[in-house]
């Protein structure tokens, strides 16, 4: 009884701050984009527009749920739930600080990878079940994009795992206490971040919701809570990707230098600061860059990133073997 209560509390302690941060991620995105385009952004509801995401959530909550008559209702309702739950499932293995983790599993990175592989299903099912051309085309685009960029992400992750010698996320962070992996594996970090943009269907790779061609991609037919679940899932995935980038390349909760003025700040605060940088980068890229064409996107993924990451995997493993740097 007591144990299950603790478990429920743990889960709530992850989910509630996650949903809050997703809500304020959307506000931050709108504010940052507005200031890049020299506008004010949302500033009416609450002080400086701080209550805007709550108002948006309330609006989506009380809207009418529309079920298209030609849709496959069961799968139509299943798809947003699947997307949302899968985006929450990944957070179990994320270490927020030293020993601040729900499940410290040995194969945490592989688990995250499997979850992100599963999250393609929510998108592809929503596109198929809503029985509309736009949604179907959007979901096909989105799914093929995610599948193809997952491959290069896999190779990058393997080269990081070779350097750290473990699939456990905490141990990957501990192994970066000498130097963060963004320095020795700098090209991998760049490719990983760009692949993360493509994996989360963000600008400049947001082909699935190219407004001019496909109304809004796979979620055209969804209204109210269905749409809200997709939206939350998408932004939670973005946050998860920035967490993963920080863990793999920026040393997670470790401070910049392990000397006195930097060690005053606790680990989770360092983690949060690094995440903020990536969140701002996500918004900045959205405001600054034009959209890729679809064949360019595919050729970038398969013909540039994949060969380069395989080549770098061979290179880094041979360096590790030559200098006897292998961690075990």
């Amino acid at each position: 009884m007591f144990f299950s209560l603790i478990l429920v509390l743990k889960i709530l302690l992850i989910i509630v701050p996650l949903l809050l941060s997703v809500a304020y991620f959307t506000l931050a995105e709108r504010k940052i984009m507005a200031s890049i385009q020299r506008r004010r952004g949302p500033n009416v509801i609450g002080y400086l527009g701080l209550l805007q995401p709550l108002a948006d959530g309330l609006k989506l909550f009380i809207k009418e749920t529309i079920l298209p008559t030609s849709a496959n209702i069961f799968i139509f309702l299943l798809a947003p739930l699947l997307t949302f739950f899968l985006s929450l499932m990944g957070w179990v293995v994320i270490p927020f600080g030293e020993n601040l983790v729900v499940a410290n599993v040995n194969v945490g990175l592989l688990y995250l990878f499997a979850i992100s592989a599963l999250s393609v299903y929510g998108i592809i099912l929503s596109g198929w079940s809503s029985n509309s051309k736009y949604a179907f085309l959007g979901s096909l685009r989105s799914a093929s994009q995610m599948v193809s960029y997952e491959v290069s992400i896999g190779f990058i992750v393997i080269s990081v795992v070779l350097c750290s010698g473990s699939f456990n996320l905490s141990e990957i962070i501990f192994s970066q206490s000498k130097v963060w992996y963004c320095l020795p594996l700098f090209p991998m970090f760049l490719i990983f971040f760009v692949s993360a943009l493509a994996e989360t269907n963000r600008h400049p790779f947001d082909l699935p919701e190219a407004e001019a061609e496909l109304v809004s991609g796979y979620n055209v037919e969804y209204s109210a809570m269905g749409f809200a679940l997709f939206f939350l899932g998408e932004y939670a995935n973005m946050l998860l990707m920035s967490f993963l980038t920080t863990i793999l390349f920026f040393g997670g909760w470790l401070p910049i230098l392990n000397v006195v003025p930097f060690t005053f700040l606790p680990g989770p605060a360092w983690f949060g600061a690094k995440i903020c940088i990536f969140v701002i980068l996500f918004c900045w890229i959205r405001a600054a860059l034009p959209r890729y064409r679809y064949d360019q996107l595919m050729s970038l993924g398969w013909k540039t990133f994949l060969p380069f990451s395989i080549g770098w995997l061979f290179f880094s493993s041979s360096i590790l073997i030559c200098f006897n740097f292998l961690p075990f």
């Binding site: 194969v107 592989l110 499997a114 599963l118 299903y121 198929w128 096909l140 064949d295």
Partner: protein
């Protein structure tokens, strides 16, 4: 206990694969079969293989199936005659396969009873002294005793890569320069 529960789910899902009318539904049941079988691997504490099972089968292969089936213009043939014709044969075969599996298991009943219900109260000291992760165990066996099979698997994959390249390769005679 959990193992048997999930195996029952797995059997139901595999019935769903062959009995559902809509091909998309049968692929979704197939995905469920893969997921439940990796859950079975989790129950046996082989989490590395389970996760890679999800990654490869669910994340790559079943997605490709789903893609292809979605693109095809399939007509759902739901006439009673066809159902009787095909399904009766299927269930007939399944019944015999099941019998084939069930007979040896039922004769082994005493053995499994011993395995599952005996109350050994012992501590595995070895696992306390030296713990192996799954990955280490797999690697130690795979690269030493079974390296020849690893090489063979690599060759087979290589041949399949070459084959798929040859299938898709069209010699470009001044065609589309953009791509």
């Amino acid at each position: 206990m959990m193992f048997f529960l999930f195996s029952i789910f797995l059997i139901f899902c595999s019935f769903g694969v062959i009995s559902s009318r809509n091909p998309i539904h049968s692929i979704l049941f197939l995905v469920c079969v893969f997921i439940f079988s990796s859950v079975l691997l989790f129950c046996l504490e082989i989490e590395f293989l389970g996760l890679s099972f999800i990654l490869i089968y669910v994340g790559a292969i079943a997605i490709l199936f789903l893609f292809v089936v979605m693109m095809l213009d399939l007509k759902i043939n739901d006439k009673l005659f066809n159902r009787l014709q095909y399904d009766s044969a299927t269930y007939f075969l399944i019944f015999f396969l099941f019998l084939e599996l069930a007979l040896p298991i039922s004769s082994l009943n005493s053995f499994t009873e011993n395995l599952y219900y005996s109350n050994f109260d012992w501590i595995n000291w070895l696992s306390h002294i030296e713990t192996f992760t799954n990955i280490q165990a797999v690697g130690q066996v795979l690269y030493s005793y079974y390296f020849i099979f690893l090489l063979l698997a690599g060759f087979i994959l290589f041949v399949s890569i070459i084959g798929s390249l040859m299938l898709t390769l069209t010699l470009n005679k001044g065609g589309d320069l953009r791509s």
